[in-house]
């Protein structure tokens, strides 16, 4: 349920970004209210991943601003590590730390960034592993897990920081088809629990099921930004219509 409060959790305001002379993002704006789930989709190379990485400052931008929970990402005085610690992120290739056990992956930042005592961090980590159904694997190393399991651990790791919002950058794109659902199920559960989520994905079934809004991007621009039903029912732009017809009709 979107919160009607005027201050959105994530607000992207006229963001533009260049790699040298090449413009990757052009005047992108959208916002995510508290408790809202927004799916960002579009053809590859459209700038979706770049845009979502601007939200927690993993990518910088030259124009505009991103405001997360009333804190400006673009402001050079902002304590970026602190801001990032409050925003969870899940990557396409999981990016678990391969030299650490699963539970160590979950406790590292809790201890080093939040200053939690190791015992409390472990307890929290185990609780989250239970939630994603992997408590039995806590002592294993990431390489011993399947892709789907690794991604669930990555979600648990992000949740261990008690984030105010979660960013997902194509969380199922690198997974074998039979593992996609176990990850999507966890994400659906999160959405149902009221987590604020921004999700870059091609999973239109997921978008239809849980997204409040859909942002469609093409060539570095936000082409469409509307309620989920409107997007699937009657997309205004021709580009979005073509995109939808391509990925839905087979």
């Amino acid at each position: 349920m979107p919160d009607p409060s005027p201050q959105p959790m994530i607000s992207i305001r006229n963001v533009s970004k260049w790699y040298g002379a090449f413009q990757v993002l052009t005047d992108c704006s959208t916002q995510v209210a508290k408790g809202e789930v927004v799916v960002v989709c579009g053809p590859s190379g459209s700038g979706k991943s770049t845009l979502i990485k601007c939200v927690n400052g993993l990518e910088d931008f030259q124009k505009g601003d991103v405001v997360v929970d009333a804190i400006s990402v673009g402001d050079p005085k902002t304590d970026l590590p602190k801001l990032r610690s409050r925003v969870g992120m899940v990557f396409q290739h999981f990016e678990l730390f391969p030299h650490m056990s699963v539970i160590a992956n979950l406790t590292l930042a809790q201890v080093k960034v939040l200053g939690r005592p190791p015992a409390a961090a472990t307890e929290k980590g185990m609780k989250l592993l239970e939630r994603v159904g992997l408590a039995a694997h806590s002592a294993k190393y990431p390489a011993q897990l399947s892709g789907g399991q690794q991604q669930r651990v990555a979600i648990a790791r992000a949740l261990s920081m008690d984030p105010v919002a979660m960013l997902f950058d194509e969380p199922t794109s690198a997974l074998d088809p039979e593992m996609i659902n176990e990850v999507l199920d966890v994400m659906v559960g999160l959405a149902r629990d009221g987590m604020t989520m921004m999700v870059v994905t091609h999973e239109m079934g997921f978008a239809r099921k849980v997204a409040d809004r859909v942002v469609f991007m093409d060539k570095g621009q936000v082409v469409e930004d509307c309620a989920t039903d409107d997007f699937f029912g009657k997309p205004r732009s021709e580009r979005a219509q073509v995109f939808l017809s391509k990925i839905l009709h087979h």
Partner: protein, 229 residues
């Protein structure tokens, strides 16, 4: 093997090993430790986004790699005492001693080579690993210390050890400052007793056995490490 005096070797074993080899091993191990620490910092500087940092580190590495080691040993031996007196504001050169002079030299010199190894190691870690460290709120030093460097170090361990085997052999160049390392100790006995064949043959065999043995060990280690990831 007529005239080869085995007794010359056996009777001098204590001196050769307790004085010479101890010097060589101490120098190798300490210079390796210092060189890897300093070299890793240099590598981080070379990969820095700050232009002047990477320029300074790059210049240092290229300088060290373009000068013969013997020259560097010589230079440091004669310059460090003056440098010390300048830092400590003493009117006279500070005597440093051959061991510490050699240790400083090898640490600084090998750091340039360890730097290039660690640079390759750091660059071998996918960017996503850095991203995920940052995304959790870790800062640059935490991300380096807990995520990037442990993996880089593990990936590069065989190469780092191979470089150390080269360092072990290179320490014999301290003869130019008359240090009593393993080779130096043997040379002194060889000249004193005029038993050059015995001494230099024995030294060569010992260097070979140690270096070759270590490189075999590194190869086995490499096979074990390769499994992960």
């Amino acid at each position: 093997m007529e005239g080869f005096d085995w007794g010359e070797i056996t009777s001098n074993l204590p001196y050769l090993f307790e004085v010479g080899m101890v010097f060589t091993v101490k120098l190798t191990v300490l210079a390796m430790a210092g060189g890897i620490v300093f070299g890793t910092l240099l590598a981080m500087m070379r990969l820095s986004h700050l232009r002047w940092l990477s320029t300074v580190a790059g210049g240092y590495v290229n300088l060290m790699r373009s000068i013969p080691l013997v020259l560097v040993i010589f230079w440091f031996y004669f310059l460090v005492p003056f440098f010390g007196s300048w830092i400590l504001r003493e009117p006279r050169p500070i005597p440093v001693g051959t061991f510490y002079s050699a240790l400083i030299t090898f640490t600084m010199f090998e750091a340039a080579y360890y730097c290039e190894i660690m640079r390759a190691g750091i660059q071998s870690i996918p960017r996503g690993q850095v991203w995920s460290g940052y995304a959790l709120g870790l800062d640059y030093w935490q991300t380096m210390g807990h995520i990037v460097l442990p993996q880089a170090f593990r990936n590069m361990l065989p190469v780092l050890l191979t470089q150390t085997i080269i360092l072990f052999q290179d320490t014999s160049l301290v003869y130019v400052i008359s240090a009593t390392d393993f080779l130096g100790a043997a040379a002194k006995i060889a000249n004193r007793d005029y038993r050059l064949v015995e001494m230099y043959s024995f030294v060569a065999v010992v260097y070979f056995v140690i270096s070759f043995g270590l490189s075999l060990a590194v190869r086995r280690l490499q096979a074990r490490i390769a499994v992960v990831r």
